[in-house]
């Protein structure tokens, strides 16, 4: 029984890590007022870039770095179109999804089914890892897991406890007032979208380097859309994103575990989306955005000098 529990917990953390990374990225993007629906595409691009570079260089760390870079590059398209050209962010995000998924398939074509020559060794924290039960789960994980924890806490500190955080949130809430305080709205938004892209790319690399250790088409499997849901579920708060990501990750794992005992996986598969709708609905009942903490100007392009 213990071993099943450990295995479930372990797999939950592995399944939750890419969700967490990408959600952190979407949180900072949306906090600055830009909606990026293209996560699925950015993750796919990151997954392929990470896999190819790891294969070519033999270094998963270089793979991770190039996945981040690839995510940043492709998110720059969305940044340009939605910030500089003030285009519709929904349409641009969908275009990014298509481009990312398609491009990843195209460039990943020769690598389908090839095994990863090197594995990223789990990072074993001495002493702590020897604690029974918890030790194995929490202190003997892959580096992505620890990085995502650190990044999550860092992002939370950045957003809620620093000047930059105040500036990012202000730009998302009221760009006109922020501009009157001497901020450059476009710069802040560009930086946030690019960071979001980098984190989504990193999430993709986790999928190809840790989770499946190979590249297949459709590797992202709709996780990008779950991330959109998670961002709302977490109410744009990085700490709550931990909870959401592991909860949704756990649902992934349970789908397979509970199937043999007669619980259809599709019923569980609906849960993340229904939960998000429920959160939205609860917010709607209490009259909206103030309760939900959604950035007030999310998705609205800003033109200098306009109110």
């Amino acid at each position: 029984m213990d071993s099943i529990l450990i295995s479930v917990l372990n797999r939950t953390l592995v399944a939750g890590t890419p969700l967490l990374l990408a959600t952190l990225g979407e949180i900072i993007t949306e906090r600055s007022g830009i909606l990026n629906l293209g996560i699925e595409g950015m993750m796919a691009v990151g997954a392929v870039a990470g896999f190819i570079v790891t294969l070519a260089t033999g270094s998963p760390w270089l793979g991770m770095a190039s996945a981040i870079l690839a995510g940043i590059l492709i998110s720059a398209i969305h940044a340009f179109v939605s910030i500089s050209l003030k285009a519709n962010q929904v349409v641009s995000g969908l275009a990014l999804t298509m481009l990312g998924l398609g491009g990843a398939s195209l460039f990943g074509r020769p690598f389908i089914g090839r095994p990863l020559p090197v594995k990223m060794a789990p990072f074993r924290i001495p002493i702590l890892a020897d604690i029974p039960l918890v030790g194995k789960v929490l202190f003997n994980q892959d580096p992505f897991f620890y990085l995502s924890l650190i990044l999550g806490v860092l992002l939370w500190v950045l957003l809620s406890r620093t000047r930059w955080g105040i500036q990012i949130r202000s730009v998302g809430e009221n760009p006109a007032a922020s501009e009157a305080q001497g901020l450059n709205i476009s710069t802040v938004r560009y930086i946030c979208v690019l960071i979001g892209g980098g984190l989504a790319g990193m999430a993709g690399a986790h999928l190809s380097l840790i989770y499946s250790k190979s590249w297949t088409e459709g590797l992202t499997g709709g996780r990008g859309w779950i991330v959109i849901a998670l961002t709302i579920f977490a109410l744009w708060n990085p700490l709550r994103a931990f909870l959401g990501a592991y909860l949704f990750g756990c649902i992934f794992v349970l789908q397979y575990i509970l199937q043999p005992i007669g619980i259809p996986p599709n019923l569980l598969g609906m849960m993340p989306y229904l939960a998000t709708l429920a959160v939205l609905f609860a917010g709607g009942l209490k009259k909206g955005r103030r309760y939900l903490h959604a950035p007030a100007m999310l998705g609205e392009p800003y033109t200098k000098g306009e109110r």
Partner: protein, 361 residues
């Protein structure tokens, strides 16, 4: 010397400018697609040629293109209506699935007992209602509780897909399908006739074209269409003019979702003849139709042409999958890049960009 970029709002874009910008966007998009092909070591000319010859270059290709255009035209014109009212319905995928589910229920339960002329209209009606009612949820959530429709329609896509899968692996699983997760095949009376030698279920095609004309009239010559356009362009003016936002939005989404529902009926009754995996019923038609509507400039009649165009890309994509061994998702590159260039084109339609060199002070 310093390069200065000035952006002025363009007051009026002439029709000839609109056409020029559209053509230029498409060309620039194709060029970029070619670059991406070249970068992934695929001969871009060969690939583009194969896409063209695979879709519009042969009789088989044309037949397939028309087949795939049917759902795109239906959904695209319905989305044009929704986008006119600035309602971002990105849940057409799930509305299609709900249409398919409802039609299947009718087909399997009543098909054996009733003749075709009764069962086929009943299936279309049920499909329309299925899509419409599923689309009504996000509309109500928006007008009653102010819930963003982008998120709610997106979430419902997945709920519907899981629901459908639940049905075909569970209660509706066919006894004659050798363990495959499909429902039983529809009786002959519940399947749509096909154009000879093709997969074109012309009943749905006729409905699609007819619906486009109706929607065009609805948008441009009825009170309802006028009110929708006022809501979409200036919600405050709509309030001032005494236009009922709730009623109009809900009716609009019933129509928009219903169109997608009809597309779902066509797919199950015309092509598959049973309910199957969500991915098999719709290869992303609900999303591709968003570009269809966008390219058509939210004009339902133009959606016929742009639906054919993107159907051609889908079919051409299948062709290069076989002839060049490219993955199925390659066609998404095409869609994504074209969509980006279309929205960039809009920027140049709405703004005048003036570049000038200026001496530094």
């Amino acid at each position: 010397m310093k390069l200065r970029i000035r952006i002025d709002h363009r007051i009026d874009a002439s029709p000839s400018l609109q056409v020029t910008v559209l053509l230029f966007s498409l060309l620039a998009g194709l060029f970029t697609v070619g670059m991406v092909f070249a970068a992934s070591r695929v001969n871009p000319f060969l690939a583009l040629w194969k896409i063209f010859s695979g879709s519009f270059g042969s009789l088989y290709g044309i037949k397939e293109t028309i087949t795939k255009a049917i759902p795109l035209i239906l959904i695209g014109s319905g989305l044009a209506l929704a986008f006119r009212a600035r309602f971002w319905n990105i849940g057409a995928e799930s509305q299609l699935l709900m249409g398919a589910i409802c039609a299947t229920w009718i087909g399997l339960n009543w098909g054996p007992r009733l003749p075709g002329p009764i069962i086929i209209p009943a299936m279309f009606l049920a499909g329309f209602l299925g899509g419409a009612l599923w689309a009504m949820f996000p509309a109500l959530l928006k007008v009653k509780f102010g819930i963003n429709e982008v998120i709610s329609t997106l979430m419902l896509n997945y709920v519907a897909a899981e629901l459908l899968t639940l049905l075909i692996v569970g209660p509706w699983k066919g006894v004659t399908q050798q363990g495959f997760p499909y429902t039983d095949d529809f009786p002959a009376s519940a399947t749509l006739p096909l154009l000879y030698g093709s997969r074109i279920h012309y009943t749905t095609l006729i409905i699609a074209v007819f619906a486009c004309v109706l929607l065009f009239m609805l948008i441009y010559s009825t009170k309802f269409g006028y009110e929708l356009r006022v809501i979409g362009e200036n919600i405050e003016a709509a309030r001032y003019a005494g236009i009922d936002f709730m009623r109009n939005t809900v009716i609009m989404m019933l129509i928009s979702g219903g169109m997608a529902g009809i597309a779902g009926v066509g797919e199950v009754a015309g092509i598959h003849h049973h309910l199957t995996y969500p991915q098999a019923i719709s290869s992303g038609y609900g999303f591709t139709a968003i570009i269809v509507a966008w390219l058509a400039k939210l004009n339902p009649i133009a959606a016929i042409a742009s639906g054919l165009f993107f159907a051609g890309i889908l079919v051409g994509g299948d062709a290069i999958q076989i002839s060049l061994g490219l993955p199925a998702a390659t066609v998404q590159v095409f869609n994504g890049i074209l969509l980006f260039f279309l929205i960039m084109g809009d920027f140049f339609l709405n703004n005048r960009v003036i570049l000038s060199l200026e001496r530094k002070e």
